[in-house]
């Protein structure tokens, strides 16, 4: 089988190379999809999210906080408000939230401070905490003042808001990104109430930290019931469901990536099939000779199938190996959008599995044809 592959080095390398590329791409796509969906899977069961039953875009009254706190099984509540501004230019988009510094960090055991001090942030009025990725992307560091133009909450004097970097965080979970700027919600509230900024005081979502042992479903139902008769109904979801909403807001990227993966596999399958059909045809005479010598149909079938499998697994193995090799580099590029991007064993397995399936399918047809050839016909045809 090896020798047959070596007989046509150019074709073997081209086909093997395309399998390599396909498997590499497949690994890459799968890792991306996994990173996306793992934000759902790794979501904490200790956190609930309370949002307007109408839409995430509708704010809830500030006063809801104290009512929610009274529900049994809740340890604390943290307010989150979407700020929706940009840094210098609109294309420099990243998320900013006004939050309660007292409860923010302790809601997230998956976060750790890598520079600056969280206490400084919590004490400050106009300070902010940024993700490590923002530091990498824009070079913000502790002590810098980051100007953010408010689109939802513009300042009345037309100037941008300014937040001084007090702390930088990183995360240990794929569920939480490293590209967000957090600032004290009270700064926003006071600015609006004091008349220096436009907008309405409201809360996008309340983050609810459950007491250990509390039943998330029961607590969520209790909160929903609280505002059942208005003034504004709420919807309380687990963090997993909440993340899923975000993933599906990305326009079903996972499905798109999966379709691309499928298309790549499909194309490669035909390249491989073509190679094996050519190999099977041009070896018609050899097949006849093998059979004349006494090799059975089954052996001939297996040898063509084996050749196809060998080629696919060599190509696929190289593809998966390459993916693993450049994993670190890819992670650096991908981490902004896809924290938790990794070429893990399951991804390598999927890549190799695809190569295996393609090799088998592409080898079956020519193998079957070779199996059915009579030695007389094969020798006559092959002359």
């Amino acid at each position: 089988m090896f020798r047959n592959l070596l007989a046509h080095p150019v074709r073997t390398v081209l086909t093997g190379g395309s399998v390599l590329l396909a498997v590499f791409l497949l690994c890459f796509l799968r890792a991306t999809v996994t990173a996306l969906t793992s934000s759902v899977e790794q979501a904490s069961t200790q956190r609930l999210w309370v949002q307007s039953a109408v839409s995430l875009l509708v704010d809830l009254p500030l006063a809801y906080e104290s009512k929610i706190k009274q529900v049994d099984g809740i340890e604390w509540v943290c307010k989150w408000q979407w700020f929706g501004g940009y840094y210098k230019e609109e294309s420099n988009f990243f998320a900013q939230f006004g939050v309660d510094p007292e409860t923010m960090l302790k809601s997230y055991p998956e976060m750790e401070i890598v520079s600056g001090s969280y206490e400084e942030f919590a004490k400050s009025r106009t300070g902010c905490m940024i993700g490590l990725d923002l530091q990498r992307r824009y070079g913000f560091k502790v002590g810098d003042r980051v100007p953010i133009v408010g689109k939802i909450f513009p300042r009345k004097d037309g100037s941008p808001w300014e937040f001084e970097v007090k702390a930088v965080y990183r995360t240990t979970s794929a569920a939480i990104d490293q590209g967000t700027l957090y600032f004290p919600f009270d700064y926003l509230r006071e600015s609006i109430e004091g008349g220096s900024a436009w907008g309405d005081v409201g809360i996008g979502v309340f983050l609810v930290k459950l007491r250990p042992g509390a039943d998330p479903t029961r607590v969520a139902a209790a909160i929903d019931l609280l505002f059942d008769r208005g003034p504004q109904r709420v919807q309380t979801t687990t963090e997993a469901e909440f993340s899923r909403q975000f993933v599906s807001m990305m326009g079903n990227v996972p499905l798109l990536l999966q379709s691309i993966g499928g298309a790549v596999l499909f194309a490669i399958f035909f390249a491989m099939l073509n190679t094996m059909l050519m190999a099977g045809r041009e070896r018609t005479r050899d097949i006849g000779v093998m059979k004349a010598l006494g090799f059975t149909d089954a052996v001939v079938f297996r040898s063509l199938l084996g050749e196809s499998l060998l080629l696919c697994l060599l190509g696929g193995g190289a593809g998966a190996g390459l993916a693993k090799l450049v994993e670190a580099g890819l992670q650096r590029v991908m981490s902004a959008q896809f924290p938790g991007f990794a070429i893990d064993a399951a991804t390598v397995g999927v890549g190799l599995g695809a190569a295996l399936v393609i090799g088998t399918l592409a080898g079956l047809g020519p193998g079957w044809r070779a199996r059915g050839l009579t030695p007389v016909a094969a020798l006559r045809e092959g002359i």
Partner: protein
């Protein structure tokens, strides 16, 4: 009297363009062990068809093909494969070596079907190559050999498993005169020194002159079997 090859009422026809073309029609033929036969006849007379039937590459439409006591007409596919591996060596006009394998590996190919150990297989393959005078070309690929050398490798492959019967279909058809003579002398030696029964298709009278007996085939009918009146003496080298 027992014959090595015994064909009784063998017919074989092919379908061609909706028509049935009868090639062999009720053929009877007996051949003895240890002899060297030349099968002669015009092109299209059914020589290859007959050889394929005797070698178990093909089955007759009716009749019996008894070779060494086995009725090949009634063996199943893989039993027939097995039988071929044990009993016959084929030599073809176009040599039919596997291009990707060295001479040695080509000769080793049929030995893979034997229960011999790896070492024994190698010894036997090397012995066969030495016998055909190519002991020093073992590791050459077919395309690095001349036509005559390729055909001698093919003969080594045919005798590697030590079959009783060697079937050669126009083995010198693609060779120049001197290569052809070397191949024919080799076949004659295999017959004389190793006692192989040889059935060789040819329409070259010079080639036929190496055989003991001439079998004439014409339009699916057997002509005569005659002792070769002008048989060439082989070079007569001692074994």
């Amino acid at each position: 009297m027992d014959h090595l090859i015994d064909l009784r009422g063998v017919t074989r026809a092919y379908q061609r363009g909706g028509e049935t073309v009868s090639v062999l029609d009720g053929l009877d033929l007996q051949m003895d062990a240890g002899s060297f036969y030349a099968l002669m006849g015009p092109s299209g007379s059914g020589k290859t068809t007959l050889l394929n039937l005797i070698g178990g590459l093909d089955r007759p439409d009716s009749g019996e093909v008894l070779v060494d006591g086995t009725d090949l007409a009634h063996l199943g596919g893989s039993a027939l494969s097995r039988w071929r591996a044990d009993h016959v060596g084929f030599v073809f006009q176009g040599f039919n070596l596997l291009p990707v394998l060295s001479a040695l590996d080509n000769v080793l190919l049929p030995l893979q079907l034997t229960p011999l150990s790896r070492r024994a297989r190698h010894e036997q393959a090397e012995r066969a190559l030495a016998l055909v005078g190519l002991g020093d070309r073992m590791h050459h690929k077919p395309r690095e050999l001349s036509g005559g050398q390729e055909q001698r490798v093919a003969i080594a492959r045919a005798i590697a498993t030590d079959p009783t019967l060697i079937l050669a279909d126009e083995p010198t058809g693609d060779l120049d005169r001197s290569s052809a003579d070397a191949v024919l002398e080799l076949l004659a030696r295999l017959n004389e020194e190793l006692g192989k029964t040889i059935l060789m298709v040819t329409h070259d009278p010079l080639a036929a002159s190496f055989a003991h007996r001439l079998v004439h085939l014409d339009k699916g009918r057997l002509g005569r079997i005659e002792d070769n009146p002008e048989r060439r003496p082989t070079a007569g080298r001692p074994a």
